[in-house]
Symmetry: C2
Subunit: 147 residues, 2 copies
DNA sequence: ATTTTAGATGCATGCGCAAGCAATTAGTTG
DNA sequence: CAACTAATTGCTTGCGCATGCATCTAAAAT
């Protein structure tokens, strides 16, 4: 994935690294609990929102995971249909929707998290062995990323 | 986009940064030349492959942009239908497909590249102002990334 | 001949955009 | 202040499109 400027070249590496990690996590999460990376992300966001006793409107959830509002609506719908979360209209502003992760949802998260972590580490190790990605990976590590 | 481990937290930031850059570039490229980020990436790959006088099979193009083989087939098809590239069976292995960017394709790239670059810089500047992304962006810059 | 590989295709799914609907807020008029 | 209208905001829906998976065909390779 070559490019015109050095800056764009950096973006290409970032992009490839991201896609590689993403596709690995996708497969891992799909296999472990029939869930997509995005669904996992949303559940994760909603779960922490909940433990912090803060409630996010759908719109802010969409922003947090960088997804369109319509896609977020449908994603949350799917999760509700699978019993992983429940929805309720916000009573101070009845346009808003509040969501709560159910027990089943938290159980799924407990399975998904280690699976996702394993996939993430694997992807990173693999990337370190790729000549194109090596500098980027090292840059991230040197700067204390991730972690 | 919070998470369980620090490592996963890093992945979340990386993910958000990527999505932000991506959606900005998508809009910019769409507006500038009715082309998607992926189509741009593929064109870019094929163009450099060509100037280096090397020919890639579709399969390797797919790997380079981290896309499935089927999606790559159809993407290249779309680009051919728009007259941005031409396809030909490889004569030493008639299973393989070779592709060449046309004059129109190179013209489009000439428009797309600066548009994409502008979007990229904008997205980076914006990210630097986001508390969640700031450490990641600085990490990348400190380590000489991108560029 | 069998197996393997490159690419194409049917199908189901998730996405973004644009339009729509309902609730809220701001502004106007009596 | 109350009542009405306009503009905004949060979410949903219709629709077309790109993607991945599984499957298929044709061409090497064994």
């Amino acid at each position: 994935m070559p490019s015109s400027t050095p800056f764009a070249q950096g973006w290409c590496s970032l992009s490839v690294l991201h896609e590689r990690i993403h596709s690995r996590m996708e497969r891992a999460l799909q296999e472990a609990c029939r869930i997509s990376v995005r669904e996992y992300s949303v559940l994760q966001v909603l779960d922490t929102q909940q433990t912090d006793d803060k409630h996010l409107h759908l719109k802010h959830v969409a922003e947090a995971v960088v997804l369109s509002q319509s896609a977020t609506t449908r994603l949350v719908m799917r999760l509700e249909e699978r019993g992983l979360l429940s929805r309720a209209v916000c009573d101070v502003d009845r346009r808003g929707i509040y969501t709560n992760v159910t027990k089943a949802g938290r159980a799924l998260l407990a399975t998904a998290r280690p699976a996702s972590d394993r996939a993430l580490h694997k992807a990173f190790d693999e990337a370190r062995r790729d000549p194109q990605l090596r500098p980027l990976v090292e840059a991230l590590e040197k700067a204390g990323f991730p972690g």
